[in-house]
Each structure stands twice: as C-alpha cells, then as structure tokens.
C-alpha cells in the first residue's frame, strides 16, 4: 500500500516535470490579435525603462487614463532597467513571449526585429502624424511602413555646469575643439574634473567617436555605411585620430574607464549632478538623469548646453546633430489596442506630461512649448535649425556593428589601440554576423 502511494506520487512528479518542460517550450502561441473585434477583454503587457521617480509615475497614470477611456482593456506595466532592456527584450522576442508594447529606438536594431517578423506596423492617426512630422518617423520606418511611435527626440550635445565654468574663469561656450581643449585646461587648473565619461557602459565613450565622425564624414558617407558597412572612407579614421588627439589632453574624469553612465552618484551623470565634473556629452535624456541624481533630486539649476564643437577639415555640415529617439513598438502578436494606446499617449496633454516627467524633449511639436529648462530650450533651438539629424551610429548600424564600435572606442581611449583598429573591429564584427 505504502509503496503504491510512493509509485503514484513519483509518476505524478515525472508527469509534472514533463508538463513543465512542455510549457516552457510551447509558449510561443500566446498573444491574441483578434480580441479587439470580439469586443471582449483585452490585456497587453508594456515594457519601458523608467524604474524610478516621475517617469515611472507618468506611465502608471497614462496607462490608468487609457484604461479608463477604454473599458475592457488592461495593460500590465513592467519597468526594466535601461542597461538590461536590450538583452531581456531580445530573449522575450525570441522565445515568443514578447511584450505587446515595448520600448524601441528605431534604426538598425528595429529593422532586425521587423525583418524577423517580430513587430507589427503601427497605425498612426492623422493628428499624431501632423504633430510629429516625417523626420521623427523616419527612424522607425522600414520599407515604407512605420513600426514605432516616437515619444521623445533626444539630440546630443555637451551638458555643462555654468557655475563650474564661471569658477574656472570660462566665459561663453567653446565653438571649436581648440576652444574646448583650452576650457579643459582652465578647468584642470581650477582643480575641477573637466569632462565626465561613463566608459564602463561603453556607449557614452562611443558617442565621442560618433560626434567626431559626424563632423568628419558627410551625410552621404554616413548613409552609405548604413548600406554596405564597409567604413572605408578616410573620414572614419580621421574621426578616430581626432578623438585620440583629444583624449591625449586627458579631458576625462579620473578612472573614467570604470565609471558607469547613469547609476548612482559616482556615475558620469552623478558627477555632473554633484558638481564633481563640469561637462558631459549626452543625449537630451541627460537633464532627467542628472535631476534624479542631485542631492535633492531636483533638476540641476545651473545646467547649460552647447552643441558639439566644430573641427578642422571635416566634411560634415555645420550644425548637423546626432541623436536618438525614444519610442515604442508593437510586437507581432499584439492586439490592435497597441496602436491605439500609442496614439493616445501622443496627445498634447500626455506629451507635455512626458516632457515634464522625463525632463526631455517631446516628439510632438504641439507639446514643445512646455519645455522651459534652460539647457533643453537650447537643445531644441539647435535641433529645429539643424540641416540634418543622424541617428546614434550604434542604433543606425545595428547591434553588431554598434557593439564593435563601442569596443573599438574603449580600446582607443584605454590607449591600447589606434584609430585604424576601430575600423578593423567593425570589419571583424561583420565576420561574426
């Protein structure tokens, strides 16, 4: 009797184990795109990257408003730390267990997702189309179809502390790299770390190379590299040489190679937030990140902004900017309510709320009047005048090339490689793709 019980229990256990494994491999058929027509209950999952503070609260209230306006629709929010997002999303998309609404930044990365049939076209209503304009949608367009909704425009440039500049006796902002180098020296003489750099995360270091490349390479060269990924134009090496020469002046904070970008007071954004360093090259999300790291978690009062300085002998047009967009896409199996939600969040009221919560620039032009922080007003003015805006090169060229660029730049800044090795690491990466 006893033994029989044991046998039954064991059998049950092994069946349970089988069921468990069956579940884990067979989960790819979740998601139900027909639910909208049925008019029944629709539930969606939503991944974004604001794990704390105002941004998190913004999404919670926006989702609550949408649910109230659309009875029967339920959105489950999951906030994921920014540096973890890419990997988690890739795993989720690949296991067929993708979130219905997920954060995306357009360019080559999104294009890979679309090519693999993992995202669906976003239906943009006319009001949103007019408010955003074609430029922002172009980053999310693959083969003429829109696969993402831009929420904010994030052009890059140099953020700086006006107080520390004044303390070092700097008047005005540098217009050329030579000016910048002179300012770096003045800051060092005043005992201030000139430029904060979170090279541990690599992409902030790579941004320096991208901006030198933006100034050195023409728009045609940047576009051509998107297609052939050969990087054989001399401007790519020039950008590396310019960066190497600049880094020889030791402009970055001590230990920048092991400084992270956005996590905690010791990160590069934290150094700026606590007046430990004077400048940082970043995108327009930086005022928000800095605000969350100041001692009183308020926006930094003396934060200023200037565009990346001009270089000698470059082919890039003066005033051209590099930047990114934060947006959201709908996965293949998402219900039609996904597009509806994204259009909902693009209304003026919510875009203004977004700009306020994230201390950044809204994608909707209707909402731009809400931007009042000094640094952001300057970014916006430059953005609206820019002859063209290139996507961050790692976003533009896709994850594989982006990864190689990041690694190459870190090697260069660590003094272990020259500009040719950046190009070489891209070619090596292509061999792995």
């Amino acid at each position: 009797m006893n033994r029989k019980k044991i046998l039954v229990a064991t059998a049950a256990l092994s069946i349970g184990a089988l069921a468990l494994t069956a579940c884990s491999s067979g989960g790819s058929s979740t998601g139900d795109s027909s639910s909208a027509a049925a008019g029944g209950n629709v539930s969606m999952t939503f991944w974004h990257n604001s794990t704390t503070g105002e941004g998190k609260a913004y999404w919670e209230s926006t989702v609550a408003d949408f649910e109230a306006a659309n009875p029967g629709v339920k959105i489950t929010i999951q906030a994921i730390q920014n540096e973890d997002m890419d990997g988690k999303l890739q795993t989720a998309l690949n296991s067929g267990d993708a979130p219905d609404i997920f954060m995306a930044r357009g360019g080559g990365k999104l294009s890979d997702v679309v090519t693999a049939g993992q995202a669906q076209e976003v239906v943009v209503d006319d009001a949103t189309k007019a408010a955003v304009g074609d430029a922002a949608f172009s980053a999310f367009t693959v083969d003429g179809k829109v696969y993402g909704m831009p929420m904010s425009i994030l052009p890059g440039g140099i953020y700086y502390s006006k107080d520390l500049f004044a303390k070092a006796g700097i008047t005005g902002t540098p217009a050329t790299i030579a000016d910048l180098e002179a300012d770096v020296q003045k800051l060092k003489d005043a005992g201030i770390a000139p430029i904060a750099l979170g090279a541990k995360d690599a992409w902030p270091a790579a941004h320096w190379y991208y901006f030198f490349a933006l100034r050195a390479c023409s728009q045609e060269t940047l576009d051509k590299a998107t297609a052939d990924k050969k990087f054989d134009d001399a401007c790519w090496t020039k950008a590396g040489d310019d960066l190497a020469a600049f880094s020889k002046t030791n402009p970055f904070n001590d230990g920048f190679l092991t400084t992270s970008a956005q996590q905690g007071a010791g990160s590069s954004a934290g150094l700026l937030a606590n007046h430990q360093a004077a400048m940082e090259l970043m995108g327009a999300w930086d005022p928000g990140v800095i605000a969350s790291l100041t001692p009183d978690t308020k926006p930094l009062a003396d934060l200023g902004w200037f565009p990346f300085p001009a270089i000698d002998g470059g082919k890039g047009e003066a005033g051209a900017m590099m930047g990114g967009l934060d947006g959201f896409s709908c996965s293949k199996a998402a219900p039609a309510e996904c597009s509806k939600f994204l259009n909902f969040a693009m209304q003026k009221k919510y875009q203004e709320g977004y700009a306020n919560a994230f201390h950044t620039l809204p994608a909707s032009k209707d909402a731009q009047s809400v931007v009042t922080e000094g640094a952001l007003v300057d970014v916006l003015a430059s953005y609206n005048k820019a002859p063209y805006v290139s996507l961050w090169l790692d976003t533009l060229y896709g994850q594989n090339v982006g990864n190689a660029l990041n690694a190459g730049v870190v090697n260069l800044l660590a003094g272990q490689a020259d500009s040719a090795s950046i190009v070489k690491s891209v070619v090596d990466a292509a061999a792995k793709e």
């Binding site: 046998l7 064991t10 059998a11 256990l13 092994s14 349970g16 184990a17 089988l18 494994t21 890419d86 990997g87 890739q90 998309l93 690949n94 890979d112 997702v113 090519t115 693999a116 049939g117 993992q118 090279a199 541990k200 995360d201 690599a202 001590d254 230990g255 190679l257 092991t258 400084t259 992270s260 010791g266 896709g398 994850q399 594989n400 990864n403 190689a404 990041n406 690694a407 870190v410 090697n411 660590a414 272990q416 090596d428 990466a429 061999a431 792995k432 793709e433």
Partner: protein, 338 residues
C-alpha cells in the same frame, strides 16, 4: 566524498578495522533481504520512477541546451526565429583567430593558476589555525565564510565602489599619508588582474577553509596522539599526517576551483562592465561570449563560444579526473560492481 576516501586511507594506514567492518556488515545485512523480495523488472521500474524526474530535468535543462548550443554554433544567427544561415565551422575558425579570445583564454589560465596558488596554501593555513581550540574560533570561522555566501552581484558592486580611483581605498591611502600609493586599481592592466585575484580570494577562500576543516575532522585523533608520544614536532605532525590525509579534500577543492575559474563571469562583468574587461586584462571566455554573442546579437557565434568553453572545461575535468582524482575515487566508483 572526502570522508569516504579518508576512511579508505585510514583502513590501509592504521587499520581500526572495527569501523569499516561494521559499515560493510550493515550494508551486507540489508542488501540480500532487499534483493530477495523483488524481480529484476520491478527493480528497474523502481529505478526508472525514482530517477525519472531527475533524468527528465537533467536532459531538458542540461543536455538539451548543450546539444542545441552545438547546433546553433554552426549558424550565423541574429537570434530571431529559427537559424537558417548555415556556415559550418566558420564561427569556430573566427573564435580561434580572434586575438581578444586568445587574451580571454590567457586571463582564464592565469586566474586558474593564481587561484590555486593563492587560495590553496592560505586556506590550508587558516584551516589548521581554526582547527585548534582558541577563543573566538567560531566568530572567525563565520567571518571567513560570510563573503562566500554573499551574492556575487553585491560583492562586485561593493568592491568596484571601493576600488574606483575616487573610491574608499585610495581615499584611505591618502588619509594614511600615502598618496603616492594610490593607483587605478581597476583599469590599469598591470594592476587590474591582481585586484580581481584579491576579490576572488576574499570571496572564495571561505569555501576552501570550510572544506578543509571538514577534511580535518575526518583525521582520527589517535594518529596525532601517537605522533605526540613518538615526540613529533608540530610541523612534523602537520607535514607527515595532516597534509597527506587532507590530500583528497585538497584535490577535490582544486578541481572545483579550476572549473569555477574557467567559467568566471559575474564578478568581472559587474566590476568591469562589457568592454573595459578586455582593456584592463580581466576578460574571461564567459565575458567574451556575452559581449560578442548576446550584446552583439550574434547568437550563433555566442553559442559556438559556449561550446568551446564547454569543451575546454570538459577536457580539463576529464584529464584531472583521470590523473589526479583517480586514486581518491577508485574505491567509490568501483565498489558497486563487486
């Protein structure tokens, strides 16, 4: 395992036969009775049912992923949908030609050797010390063991904060009047590997000490008493009795330490991040795999790296088993066939 082999050795060296005979007797007494009441098929069914769940789990979550990794390693694969671009051995050729992989492999080798050289002797000394009756012994034991229990993420974050150029350790050196001693602990390639070894030793020595203490418990007190009567000095006793009888434990620990060092990932990844590990000279095969596989979205290539890492670990494990562990496990593995 160490207790078993200690017992085996014991029987040979000093023959307190009562112990092992009693053990054998107990085993013999029970086994014929069990065997008598059952047919071969019943027994097989029972084995299948009892081992079944574990086998299913093992095959699904260990064997299958290994086989799948080997399969994916033959493709160029972005990680979306089923792999289609078959490239044969090209990923493996790329790995073997890649100088950053050579660097990572070399760092792994250095970590394996330094772990053995630094932790082994230190742990033996600590275990000998802590095996004696002294005041506050259990407090010290706990203190040494605590780092092993703490998660690698916390250890990595804590140490990286302390070792940063503007971190606590340099600050302490400055306050102690030694500003010239401050260095870039993490990104200077000459120093970073030693910083890593310091952290590894601090974290894992507790595990070695606990193992050795357990091994020391298995050495019968009579041997020490006999040595004392014969007039052996403290060091003679340790060298002639303790160390040889602790041998099996040390060899098992060395095995675990080597496999762990080959697969080192979390500490390096947390302290040095995705790319700086390579320039600081602390990258490992595992960090190489994540950076060039997952982070670059080259999943086929990443799987090939995983296979290489697996094969290297397997070769080391089998070689060690064959030439070093052989004598310790001989009895344990062959007993069942008698």
């Amino acid at each position: 395992m160490s207790d078993n082999s200690g017992e085996g050795k014991l029987a040979v060296t000093s023959s307190p036969e009562g112990l092992s005979a009693a053990g054998d007797g107990a085993r013999k007494a029970s086994s014929p009775a069990r065997r008598a009441g059952r047919t071969g098929w019943g027994q097989r069914l029972e084995i299948a049912l009892l081992a079944g769940p574990a086998m299913v789990m093992f095959i699904t979550f260990v064997m299958l992923p290994v086989l799948l990794a080997a399969y994916y390693g033959f493709f160029k694969w972005k990680g979306f949908g089923p792999p289609t671009n078959f490239v044969g051995l090209q990923n493996y050729l790329t790995i073997f030609k890649d100088s950053t992989f050579h660097d990572a492999l070399m760092h792994n080798a250095v970590i394996v050797v330094l772990s053995l050289l630094l932790q082994g002797p230190a742990a033996v000394l600590l275990a000998l010390l802590l095996n004696q009756k002294m005041r506050g012994r259990s407090v010290v034991r706990v203190l040494i063991f605590v780092p092993y229990v703490v998660s690698e993420v916390i250890v990595g974050t804590g140490w990286s904060l302390m070792l940063q150029t503007n971190g606590a350790i340099n600050d302490l050196l400055i306050k102690a009047g030694l500003p010239s001693w401050t260095v870039d602990w993490l990104s200077d390639p000459k120093i970073a590997i030693w910083s890593l070894m310091l952290i590894i030793t601090w974290k894992y020595i507790g595990f070695a000490v606990i193992l050795f203490l357990a091994g020391l418990q298995g050495i019968p007190q009579e041997l020490f008493e006999a040595a004392a009567i014969d007039g052996a000095s403290y060091w003679q006793t340790q060298r002639r009795i303790t160390l040889p009888l602790l041998g099996p434990t040390i060899r098992i620990w060395a095995f675990l330490s080597m496999i762990g060092s080959l697969q080192l990932f979390d500490l390096v990844y947390i302290i040095w991040g995705q790319y700086v590990a390579a320039t600081a000279g602390t990258s490992t095969m595992a960090t190489y795999m994540v950076v060039n596989g997952r982070n670059a979205a080259n999943y086929g290539f990443g799987n090939a790296v995983a296979v290489v890492l697996f094969v290297i670990s397997l070769i080391l494990a089998l070689t060690y088993q064959r030439f070093v562990l052989n004598r310790d496990t001989e009895g344990a593995l062959t007993e069942g066939k008698k």
